[in-house]
């Protein structure tokens, strides 16, 4: 199994898509990497030889932030917002939507599963 950017080992799929299993690499970046290294995006990941794999590895190392480093960066950005105690940091701390969305309804992604409250919505408690 090919091994790119640390632990990721996608195979059998076309290299354009298997690269996207790496955290931080989507359609755009995957295409960019293949264009830079001159590898045909339609080839399967298993067909690539060691030299091609290492050239992919080195382009990722030099030009992109992926996996652990990216996760750390995002975490740091959020921590910064929390530390300066601004509104956005506050919303992160409270687990509510950060970008001004409504919270009267929806916002379930941030708030998690519904916690039903007796007496709300006309149902007398």
């Amino acid at each position: 199994m090919p091994r790119i950017a640390g632990v990721d080992i996608p195979e059998k799929k076309k290299i354009l898509y298997s690269l996207q299993y790496i955290h931080g690499i989507g359609p755009k970046v995957a295409a960019d990497i293949l264009a830079k290294t001159g590898i045909d995006p339609n080839r399967r990941a298993s067909e690539l030889d060691d030299q091609e794999l290492s050239s992919i590895n080195s382009t990722i190392d030099t030009g992109f932030v992926v996996e652990g480093a990216l996760r750390r960066q995002v975490q740091q950005d959020i921590q910064r917002l929390k530390d300066i105690r601004c509104l956005r940091g506050d919303r992160h701390r409270k687990g509510l939507p950060v970008r001004g969305q409504r919270t009267r309804t929806n916002a379930r992604t941030r708030k998690g599963r519904k916690k039903t409250v007796a007496g709300k919505k006309g149902v007398k408690g």
Binding site: R80, D83, I84, R85, C86, L87, R88, D90, A118
Partner: protein, 92 residues
């Protein structure tokens, strides 16, 4: 959509002049302001503002990390005191 770079950051002019004057004469008192939409620029670092939130003035001490944010982001306008508890009658 973000602001056009051509315009540069929005900085309240009166406030900016006040800051300049304070820097010239050595730092002193916090500046009261209603300009919540004013971007914090590097010149503001180390200054203290009292930012109005519609009711009162909150003290905001500008640090380097805050550059690029607006003053209003540091002076919350809403108070959330938790939801009412029906069993114990009105607000708990």
């Amino acid at each position: 959509m973000s602001r056009s770079t051509k315009k540069g950051p929005h900085v309240d002019e009166k406030l900016y002049r006040k800051v300049e004057r304070q820097v010239e004469s050595g730092r002193k008192v916090p500046i009261k302001t209603w300009a919540r939409d004013c971007t914090i620029v590097p010149e503001f670092v180390g200054m203290t503002f009292q930012v109005h939130n519609g009711r009162a003035f909150n003290e905001v001490f500008c640090t380097e990390d805050m550059v690029g944010h607006k003053l209003g982001e540091f002076s919350p306008t809403r108070v959330f005191r938790g939801h009412t508890n029906k069993k114990e009658g009105l607000s708990s």
